[in-house]
């Protein structure tokens, strides 16, 4: 009902992505320079605001990053654009991103190698159970069956049987297209779409890497920006630098002239998702076991669009039966760690250690699916009217945003292995076979047909901050691990020189088992838009020109212009520095495919057989239709359909 409705939502969402991403970085810098320093060691803390004793107040007010939800506007989507424009200011005001004030010399952190002034020079260590783990899984599904029929009379049994046969064959064709697309995704990557399945897959995948001695897979690529399988040297501007179109989009206006307009396509399906994972946003991570990190993107577009168009009796414009666009964009972006440009300070004098006994899970899985069946049979038979038949124009949208973690720990120690993986699966399937017939008699209408012009697009970005500075273990770092593992309550101040700190309390997460860091997205659009459209335009009645302009008649059919799109961004904030005691494994996987399956004979036969049945049906209906207007004079013009069909 709202042209551009979900499109507006998508723009709002995409705007948030970049805004939050930018603010995340600004906030990290802010957090590392002011908030952290206000949480000083005990003697100094007493001179500060008492609120500093409550770490929650510091954390929640300054470190939580979250945009507004996509507005529940109740059909007032025009507000969305304004919200997007103001979002940055609103969030900035909420989080008080004012520049950090210079600290008094009394509170300035000591230089590296120098213990904090006054009192016990040793580092005190406090251990407690803790560590916020997350298992998040979500499914968003839209399923719409909008198989419409518009007929001049009650459908005959032959017509009903033809439509039922078409529905069955459409299902079979879609299953074949889905199987074909699945065949282009490596079998080993077809994993259960939930948290448990993802974790199990990652474990199995990483074990295979060990067995294969880290040999890259067949679809391994260099990180970068890929367009339809080709690495691009000059990627286009990122989404935050693209001009946002004006909203709301103007509704389609077909005027009021005589003619026939059939909109049986023009459907929109969109999935948009963002995951911002800040859980590992530390200065340093120490992995005592092996380190695994894999990024993978799989994208397919499948299109079947075989149309049969006939027009007679009018001035036919060039038919748009092709012009379909299928695009796959994958962007693997590596950015410096968030602490890379910030100066390091002494790590101490107080260490707070959150201990997780066992494995640690930071897992997010999100599935977004749109199923749309818009298979229509439309017959327009008129002569005296402006006749619009809208059986398409559906909009399906899934939007999700997940923000996890906070700028909390300075150091993460993993006694076992680190298993990291970012996964994005994006698939579009469009079945858009059409049978279109335009006939005119007694007038000279302009005839236009758009049965193609479909757009299928997948856009995926895995944007990683840090995680690229990996160093082998050394004795000093190992001594820190040993000290924490042994539960020592005091440390020599020299330990504060080994690991980078930000001043103030040094927060540590210690995991005794393995660490699972998984972000996985599945986005799928399946659209069946098979249409049989007949337009029969007769001669306008005598005398109609006295009250209605005649001479600009039109026959217009749109069975294409379907849009299927997937947008996904994973922002993975990794440690700026990583020490690995075991082996390091990493890989980047990419599969991109635009598929044009073979013509399906069943559907082609169905739409072909429906046309003569509809022609006979229209004639029979017209012959048997009694006069319903007691005051009406006999029709002054001849039967337009009969004159064409017989």
């Amino acid at each position: 009902m709202m042209p551009g409705g979900t499109t507006e939502i998508l723009w709002h969402f995409i705007g948030h992505l970049r805004i939050i991403d930018d603010i995340s970085r600004e906030h990290v810098e802010y957090d590392g320079s002011e908030t952290r320093r206000s949480d000083e060691d005990s003697p100094h803390k007493k001179l500060l605001d008492d609120k500093a004793d409550d770490p929650d107040q510091l954390d929640d007010s300054a470190r939580v990053l979250m945009p507004d939800s996509v507005p529940n506007d109740d059909f007032q989507f025009q507000r969305v654009h304004a919200l997007r424009a103001d979002a940055a200011h609103q969030i900035a005001a909420h989080m008080d991103l004012s520049p950090p004030q210079p600290l008094l010399p009394l509170f300035r952190p000591p230089a590296i190698g120098v213990a904090s002034g006054g009192g016990d020079p040793n580092i005190t260590v406090t251990c407690q159970p803790g560590g916020e783990q997350t298992l998040a899984q979500a499914h968003q599904i839209n399923a719409l069956m909008d198989n419409d029929s518009l007929l001049p009379a009650e459908a005959s049994p032959e017509i009903l049987q033809g439509i039922a046969r078409l529905d069955t064959d459409v299902g079979d064709a879609l299953l074949n297209m889905a199987d074909n697309a699945n065949d282009h995704i490596p079998q080993q990557w077809q994993i259960p779409q939930d948290d448990a399945g993802a974790v199990t897959f990652v474990t199995d995948h990483d074990q295979n890497l060990v067995v294969g001695n880290g040999t890259p897979e067949m679809h391994s690529v260099e990180p970068g920006y890929y367009l339809n399988g080709m690495l691009q040297a000059d990627p286009p501007p990122p989404p935050d630098q693209i001009t946002v179109p004006d909203f709301p989009l103007p509704p389609a206006d077909y005027g009021h002239d005589l003619g026939q307009w059939a909109i049986a396509g023009n459907n929109t399906s969109v999935n948009a998702a963002l995951i911002v994972d800040l859980t590992e946003s530390t200065r340093t991570m120490i992995v005592m076991g092996d380190y695994f990190k894999t990024d993978a993107i799989f994208q397919t577009n499948s299109t079947m669009d075989h149309d049969h168009i006939n027009a007679a009796g009018g001035d036919a414009l060039p038919f748009v039966a092709g012009g379909n666009q299928a695009t796959n964009i994958a962007d693997f972006t590596q950015l410096p760690g968030i602490y890379a440009e910030l100066s390091a300070t002494f790590a101490g004098p107080q260490w707070h250690v959150d201990v997780v006994n066992g494995d640690y899970y930071d897992v997010h899985t999100l599935t977004q699916t749109n199923y749309l069946f818009d298979n229509d049979v439309v017959v327009q038979n008129s002569s005296d009217t402006h006749f619009e038949a809208i059986s398409g124009g559906n909009e399906l949208g899934n939007v999700a945003q997940i923000f996890d973690g906070s700028i909390q720990y300075d150091l993460i120690i993993i006694a076992g292995a680190y298993h990291g993986m970012n996964l994005i699966f994006q698939n579009n399937i469009l079945l858009n076979d059409d049978q279109i017939k335009l006939l005119a008699s007694g007038s000279d209408p302009t005839q236009s047909v758009v049965s193609g012009d479909n757009t299928l697009s997948n856009t995926a970005t895995i944007e990683r901050y840090g995680g690229d500075n990996i160093q082998p273990m050394n004795d000093d770092v190992n001594s820190v691990v040993t000290a924490v593992a042994d539960g020592k309550t005091t440390l020599d101040p020299s330990y504060g020189d080994i690991i980078d700190g930000s001043g103030g309390t040094f927060n540590v997460l210690y995991v005794t088992g393995n660490y699972y860091d998984v972000n996985a997205l599945w986005q799928t659009n399946v659209t069946s838009d098979v249409n049989v459209v007949m337009q029969l335009l007769g001669k306008p009645a005598d005398g109609l020109d006295a009250i209605h302009p005649i001479g600009n008649e039109t026959q217009s059919v749109v069975t294409g212009q379907d849009s299927l799109s997937n947008e996904a961004i994973i922002v993975d904030v990794a440690p700026t520095n990583t020490y690995v005691n075991g082996q390091t494994y990493g890989d980047t996987i990419l599969v991109q495919a635009n598929l044009l399956p073979d013509k399906d004979p069943a559907i082609s036969g169905d739409v072909h057989s429906l046309v003569p049945e509809l022609v006979a049906f229209v004639n029979d209906a017209q012959d048997s239709t009694p006069a319903t207007q007691p005051l009406a004079a006999p029709a002054p013009h001849e039967d337009p359909v009969a004159s064409i069909m017989h």
Binding site: I141, L151, I191, H256, N394, G397, W522, Q629
Partner: protein
């Protein structure tokens, strides 16, 4: 968990058109009166479970037309949910393979008219942890059929400029309209256990002199989800639909 179903059935009138006496009625509207309703549920605890199912059928005919309006609402949704909070994250490797595009969720036996959503929840975490499992499902069947909708002009040439004005009859130039419209709405069903999902089936038919608009599509399904897990258990989700 709420599941609200609303049905609106406006103005079903039958019979053939007779010339009404003057004064003329207000001019017919060219715009279908679309009146989407929503009934979002607000949960002050932050866990929002809102299901609303809205069917809107609004027929506007300022002239007297024969209208046969039938609304059939059928909920046919199967949710297969297994919750196992005691099992750790170990899965038989033989069950790892799962097609990325899985159309088996659509019930072929019912011409894809129902949605089967397997939702296996296997989350086991200790304290100091967050677990989210959110499903948003919109399932709408809006298979409309319209037959016999017609608008014809039988006015003839006439000698008067008022020949075609039904409110000023000219006996020397008889004029008349034939208008007949009929539309069947679709079915709407919604998963009763989903969070924040809205679906609707609406069909509008607006018919006035010389302009006939039949809308059987233009449905909207929309899911929106926001999860924040940054030390506190906060979640927010909502849906829109029309």
């Amino acid at each position: 968990m709420g599941n609200t179903q609303k049905r609106y059935d406006h103005g079903s009138s039958g019979g053939v058109w007779d010339l009404p006496p003057p004064p003329p009625p207000p001019p017919p509207s060219h715009d279908p009166k679309h009146d989407p309703k929503q009934d979002p549920k607000t949960d002050p605890t932050g866990d929002s479970n809102s299901n609303s199912n809205t069917n809107v059928n609004h027929n506007t005919n300022d002239l007297d037309n024969k209208i046969d309006n039938h609304v059939s609402n059928c909920v046919d949704n199967t949710v297969d949910t297994h919750v196992n909070v005691d099992v750790c994250l170990t899965v038989d490797e033989s069950g790892l393979s799962s097609p990325v595009i899985d159309l088996s969720n659509l019930n072929m036996a019912q011409s894809f008219g129902s949605l089967i959503m397997p939702d296996v929840v296997n989350q086991n975490l200790a304290d100091h942890s967050n677990a989210f499992n959110i499903d948003q499902v919109n399932n709408l069947v809006d298979n409309d059929s319209s037959s016999g909708a017609s608008v014809t002009f039988n006015g003839g040439g006439g000698g008067s400029e008022l020949a075609c004005d039904p409110w000023h009859q000219d006996s020397s130039s008889p004029a008349g309209f034939n208008m007949d419209a009929k539309i069947h709405s679709g079915d709407s069903s919604i998963d009763g256990t989903s969070n924040g999902a809205t679906s609707s089936a609406d069909a509008t038919l607006n018919q006035d002199a010389f302009t006939q608009t039949i809308t059987q599509g233009a449905n909207i399904q929309f899911n929106s989800l926001s999860i924040q897990a940054a030390g506190d258990h906060i979640q927010d989700d909502h849906s829109l639909g029309s």
